[in-house]
Amino acid sequence: MVVRGLQAVSKAQNGVGAFVLQCKRLEFNYCEMSGSSRGMKAFLKTRLATFAKENPGVEIVVSPRPKKHPIIRGSYINKREKVVCVRNLEVLQVLQKAELLRDASGDKIKKINKPVQSLNDSVRGIWSPYHAKGEDVYKV
């Protein structure tokens, strides 16, 4: 006549309590020679320092990628990566792409049909025909 404990591990609910930004690293790649990197290089010179200061939780890496189009590569806590090609984009467009990657969760894009996703049980409970009274019994 003992109660035994069943092992369980608590589940994360990011944002309940602390919020941890899911993007942990942004890598900016550019080419010194090609024209498609013009906006990217201007972004690196003028905007990147401010961007990094505004986002202290993101590791910023800049490295050349010769003879290729410029890209931004985001690495996420769920061990996935997202890559965006920013060829021929202007400075502000590159900034938009960087912000897009920063705000992403890293998950695959998926369609969400339900308005609420929750780990909690329904507060109202599930309708049961054995507990309904009167006419409600037949309303399934």
């Binding site: 092992q7 369980a8 309940v16 941890v20």
Partner: protein
Amino acid sequence: MRRASRSTWDSLAVPRRCVCGNPIRLNDLLSSSFSTSSSSSSSSSSPLSPSVSSSTASRSSSIPTFRPLSSAPSSKSRTSRPFSTTSSLAVIPTLLPTQSAKLAALHGRLNLPNGYPLTTLGRALIDPTAEPEHHLNNDGLSNLGNVLLGYYASEYLMVQYPRLPYEILKTAMDGYIGPKALSAVGTGWGVEAAFAPGQTVDPGLLQFNRVAPGTPLYKVQGGVGFNIPRKRNRMVPNFENNPSVDQQLAAETPEMKAAREAQRPGQDATTLQLAMASFVRAAIAGVYLHSGGLPSTKEFVYAHVLSRKLDIDKLFQFEQPTRELSRLCVREGFQQPIARLEKETGRYSRHAVFIVGVYSGEEKLGEGQGSSLPEAKIKAAISALKGWYLYSPVSGADLPSKTDGNPGLSYTPAVIDVGDIVS
């Protein structure tokens, strides 16, 4: 790190190439006598590749950049790692914790205050298995963090659920602050582990000595696993086809055995899960030491550990719930519980449903649904017992830690229950 164990294994047998092209072995990485030939590999400093660690640069103004003891490199290997830069040889430059973009990003991601130095966070990432020197690893910090976590988790559970049986309390504590849960917290913070500890490792990576492949998990300190030898008549049957640990050890080749023994099993190696958990404990101890003591630690622990989801009502496993309920009623002076059939349908069909309520006099204690009468009765007793055990005071008693920062505050003590039901 998905295939870390496999690649660790590879590196033991096959020489790998350093970043600069020189073939190296794992043992070279581990020893401090790294040759000077690889000095050219400081690749990040070439003009074409300015590896901007700008998050470091932006924060370094507010963070004190002192370096704890880069004292004389003593005879013991790896003593001065990872902080030594004073070596006169042109070895691969080791990054200071204040220069690591990864570490600064982790600091920023956790929203740690500026008073929390990067050096402490860097030290929290060094496991005792990677660095035996006590003042350089996270051993002390981790112990302190463990005490703080135990304090906050236990008071939270005891005040929230004053009637929780001791076994369930232990399990719930384990679910919140056990190694598995804390390791999940650390992974959720985006902490990555280094391939192997060494001087060249970025200070923002978790450093620990991995358990060699083939080591039985029960030999790892504090570790549990599927290949623990099980006794007979336990919950999980010992299948005949399940190879025992002894058979696994007998099947290993001489090379595997040599590699396993070379990696100093036991205390000197640990698993990623245990190392990650001890990092999280150490990081919490750092909050206590550097940013305002107990109140801010409490806030941090609630934000990151206790705000996670754990269903306490799913931790119970009863042996004889009907009997236990009967003993409870005797102890509390209630009338003896009686199970009554409330509704039923399809008794002689394939899918019968019975709803049974368990009553003490006029009071309904619990209700259960089952496909047979005994099942419904047992479920009703379980529901009644859970209703008793999971009682939570509505008005909300105060936690003992409420007065930690301010002893003058008014304090409502929690309910103290008489304890478990014993027959």
